[in-house]
Each structure stands twice: as structure tokens, then as C-alpha cells.
Symmetry: C2
């Protein structure tokens, strides 16, 4: 493998000059540039970025810490991050944690060992104090989760508001007994959504009923488990508000096996607006999150931090949107 020295020797110049050419400095004679270019081509030389990295103490890499990539929600956010990162010349590394706090800790050691310039957390389970401590030593951003007390930039939707809107929609359409299927208290976003759910009920004069609240996780299987528990109730609720499309689908699929048809017998609402929400049968009513934008903005915030560790921590809220499809029975206006 040719190095910068080989190029310098062949071109009859110093390594400093080669470096200047490589980095497009403008204080090199055009003839010299040509000479160096020729040597580079002749040797098929590719700069070794490790040298530059060590010298500059920057890796041009970021780490994205994500619970899973099996859910399309994360792939879309990742795509937003990746495109923004790429445009800024950064490469993206991925750490999958399965929401395991220990694995999460292990991976963020990478940042401390200078393997990456910054970290984006998606739906982290880290608590405010830990996040603050970490962010003090390394540029970091929390996406999808707004942890108000933590001192780091965040970008997410307004989860409270989104759940409020969703449940209000169900109530407006005549559904009164509404079950809530969520990932539980592990995530701040889940807690906010639950508060939104409860607020909407109380607004309608309904006291939240613990027996209608199911914390099972955010997977297909979680939905299936929740449906199993729903079926053990004395009577089915009018509607289910699920905090992810996967969970909603798990619920619908399990109910279908018992011959219960969604929309006719019970309404189900999802969250995220993954592609499958559109293609499922029945298509899912869901709260749409701007997944790509969340990712894009997350990188932007991180980039700002990398360039200036002391810059202000912004908390960005992006808009959600209720996407109506036929999994929810609506009141017919006469």
C-alpha cells in the first residue's frame, strides 16, 4: 500500500506538499500540483485516514445507539440521520442495544475512547442524570425522547399532545372504554403518552381504569400478549390505543384468530405510521411521526455540538399528524 511518502518521493517533493495538494490548499504551484497528481495516479494512492484522524483527533464518525432496527420506525429515523451525516462528511456507526442498559453503557464507551465524535440516542432508557453526565464529556443528542431535565439537545414529537389527539379522536367518534397498550414506564415518551391518554379520558369525564392499561412492550409479540389479556376481560373495550403500529398489529392479528374483527367489533389505533400501517388489512389509523425529519434534525443538533460543545441545548418538537384509516370505526354524520 502506497503512503504519502511514496508519493512525495516519486513526485520529487516533500510530504508536506503532497499533504497540501491532498487537502486542496491554494498555495501550491499548479505545476507542482500536476506533478503530485500524476504520482498519486501512478501509485493508485489512497490516503490512509487513520493518520489524519490521529493528527486531528477527530474521527468524522458518529454513533447511533438504537434499541432495535427490526421496527421500521428506527430505519426511517436512521435514514434521516445517515443522509444528513453523509452530506456533512460523517460516517454512521450503529449500536443495537435491545433496550439493555448494560449494552448501552458498553457501547457509549466508544465515544470516550475517541472512536466517534458524537452520539445520537434513539429512545434511550438512560435517565436524565446519566444523560447529562455523558453529554458533559461528549457531544450527544437524544432523539425520539424528550428528557426535559437532562442537559443535552433533544428532538422528538410532543408525545403527550400526540396521545391526547389520538384518544380525543376515538372519544369524538363515540368510543368510551378505551384500552391503552404501551411499552410501559421504561421510556419517557411512553410515560408522556400515557399522561395524554389519561388527560383525554378525564376531559371526557371518564376515570382511567387500570385494568384497561397494558404495559407489554412495543413489538408484535407485545401486542399479541396484550390481546390475550384483553380477551380475559368481562367484555371487550370499544377501542384500543396502541403506542406503536407493531403492537397494534399484534393486537389485531391475535383478535382475528378469535374471530373478532377490527373496526366492526373493536377499533384499534396505532402509532408511528410505518409503511405497514398503510398496507395492513385493515389499514391502520395511526399517529404519524416525521421519522426522517427527526433523524435529520438529530444530526444537525449533534453537528452543532461537535463544532461547539458549549452551544445552547435546544429541545425541538416536530409536528405529528393523525392519519385516519379504516381500523377505527367512525361516527356517521347524518
Amino acid at each position: 500500500m502506497a503512503t504519502i511518502k511514496d508519493v512525495a518521493r516519486l513526485a520529487g517533493v516533500s510530504v508536506a506538499t503532497v499533504s497540501r495538494v491532498l487537502n486542496a490548499y491554494d498555495n501550491v504551484r499548479p505545476e507542482t500540483v500536476a506533478l503530485v497528481r500524476k504520482a498519486i495516479a501512478q501509485l493508485d494512492y489512497q490516503p490512509n485516514f487513520l493518520g489524519r484522524t490521529l493528527r486531528r483527533l477527530e474521527t468524522m464518525k458518529i454513533l447511533v445507539v438504537v434499541p432495535t432496527i427490526s421496527n421500521q420506525f428506527y430505519s426511517r429515523v436512521l435514514k434521516g440521520i445517515q443522509l444528513a451525516a453523509q452530506a456533512a462528511g460523517y460516517h454512521t456507526m450503529l449500536a443495537i442495544t435491545n433496550s439493555d442498559a448494560e449494552i448501552e453503557q458498553e457501547h457509549i464507551g466508544m465515544a470516550r475512547r475517541k472512536l466517534v465524535d458524537g452520539v445520537i440516542f434513539l429512545h434511550t432508557t438512560m435517565k436524565a442524570a446519566a444523560l447529562t453526565e455523558f453529554a458533559a464529556s461528549c457531544p450527544a443528542v437524544s432523539a425520539c425522547e424528550l428528557v426535559e431535565e437532562a442537559a443535552l439537545p433533544t428532538v422528538s414529537i410532543d408525545d403527550f399532545r400526540a396521545a391526547l389527539d389520538g384518544v380525543r379522536f376515538l372519544l369524538e367518534n363515540g368510543h368510551r372504554r378505551i384500552a391503552f397498550v404501551s411499552a410501559g414506564g421504561l421510556y419517557n415518551s411512553s410515560r408522556c403518552r400515557r399522561m395524554g391518554y389519561e388527560r383525554a379520558l378525564r376531559e371526557a369525564g371518564i376515570e382511567p381504569d387500570e385494568s384497561l392499561i397494558f404495559d407489554e412492550g412495543f413489538t408484535f409479540n407485545a401486542g399479541k400478549r396484550a390481546a390475550g389479556r384483553l380477551l380475559m376481560l368481562d367484555r371487550l373495550p370499544d377501542a384500543v390505543f396502541a403506542t406503536s403500529d407493531s403492537t397494534a398489529i399484534g393486537v389485531i392479528s391475535a383478535l382475528a384468530q378469535r374471530g373478532i374483527r377490527v373496526c366492526d367489533d373493536i377499533s384499534v389505533m396505532g402509532f408511528d405510521n410505518n409503511q405497514i400501517a398503510e398496507y395492513y388489512l385493515p389499514p391502520l389509523t395511526t399517529i404519524s411521526q416525521p421519522q426522517f425529519d427527526i433523524g435529520h434534525k438529530a444530526f444537525e443538533l449533534l453537528h452543532d455540538k461537535i463544532n461547539d460543545l458549549s452551544c445552547e441545548d435546544r429541545h425541538i418538537l416536530l409536528p405529528h399528524r393523525l392519519e385516519y384509516r379504516s381500523s377505527v370505526k367512525i361516527r356517521q354524520n347524518p
Copy 2:
């Protein structure tokens, strides 16, 4: 940020000794080890891996080049890779190409610039010659695609055989006019599957009919487009063999909008066995690929190459399996 020098100074030893302690050499006096450990703790020292990386000329990183991560198939393969890599002390980087050859080329430059120790391609669109050339300069493995003529290790299922089995199953159950919906000639795996499809038909004395073959891609949308074209035929086929679950779902969903019910009116078979195949309504009959194992094996092959570039190129075929679910109408035995 403390460096190895700071630790050495504080512990009153040389940097060489600190390095020995860090790398757990056994020729250091226990008292000295203790001294160094104390200094490390006191300074909260974290070794900067860039130094080691440059010195050893190894990054302990691999790059996975993948068309998309929106399809759960890839997330599962990735999980297999990542777990195997992690166990061997490697970190995983991700490059998403959208099957764009140019983007693919750009990313593999990373390997040449020594940013990674090796590359795994998932469903690459690179041709045999290009793969061979690349693999000659950098440890590389092709997963999901068996490119027989290329000189690099591969791991995949036997795509010809898998399609053969799938279509035979449809034929055995009385379906005669069978449409084929695939990603087209871009991938070698698609070509093999098509050959399997045609072979199965010919075995049954049926001449493949070009008007029943649709090359639209492997997304939900591709399935939707294919369904649009299916509906323009004089009469619907008995069954559809789709080469991915997403495509199959796209087909089913679009047909449903026209009131055509899968299983009763037409049978649809998928490929991959993503989770959604189990949770869809109707649940999908599909060819199951051992996604996790493909990923795991791919890393194993790459690891062998990294340790010995001259090691033999193995072509590993992993077993597939037909998963029967209700999207296919089966012949009732009397």
C-alpha cells in the same frame, strides 16, 4: 483528556509499562500493576484507540453494505452479523446504498482508506468481476447472494432450489397459472429464483408465460404496482409467487382494495419469512430464510479472511424452509 503519558508520569513509570498493563501483559510486577491501576483510576483515563489503531494498522471495524434497512429481512441479517462481530471485538459500520451502484462504490472506498478491516455485502448489485477485484485488495464477503464466478466467500440459501420448492408446492395444490413477482435481473438471487420458478412449471408440463412475470422490485410499492398489472390481465392467475414478503403484502393489499380476497379468490406466497408474514391478515405462506444464521456465518467468513487473506473462499448454502400459512389455498385430501 488524560493520555498514557499522564498516567505514566503520575505512576512514576514509563509509558511502555502503562501500555503493558493496559494490554494485560504478564511480565509486570504486581506492585507496578497496582501503581498503574491507581493512576488510571485517579485520572479516569480511557485509552485513545486511535493510537493503537494507527500503530497496529487495524481498526477492529467492519463495514456492512446493505441496500436498505427498511425491510426486516436485512435487520435480522444485520443482527446476526453484529452479534458475531461484537463477540470477536469488532464494531459494525453501516452503509445504506438503496441499490445504487454509485453510492456502493463510494462507500467501499472506506475500506481502501483503511477505515475498516473488511466488508460484508448484502444483496450486492456488483458483478462478479468487480467483486473479485475488490476482494483481492480487501477482505470481503458476499451474503444473501451467491455469485459463483466471483472469487470471494459467500453465504446464502439455494435460491433456485427455494423457488423450485415454493412453486412446486403451489402446483401440488392445484394451482396452474402462477404469476412471478420479483425484483428483476438486478440481483443474482432473483435470476436464480426465476430459474427455479420456470423449472417447476416445466416439470409440470407448463410453459412459462412472459405475461405472468412482473419485475417491479422488492418493496410494498412494487407489490402494489404488480397487482395493478395483474388486474389488467384477462383473468387473474390462480396464484402469485412473490420473491419477498413485502411484495406479497403489497399485492394482497392492492387486490383487497378491489374486493379480491386472498386464499378464496387467489393464492399468494411470499419469501423471507419476516415477522409480518406471521402477523399479516391473512398470514402468509412463505419461504423462510435463516436470516440470523446468514449474518452470523457471513461475519465468520469475513473474520477468517481478515486473519488470513489467502484462506480458501468457501461458498456456504444454508437451508431454507417452506412455512405454510393461510394465504395459499390447499387441496383438501378426501
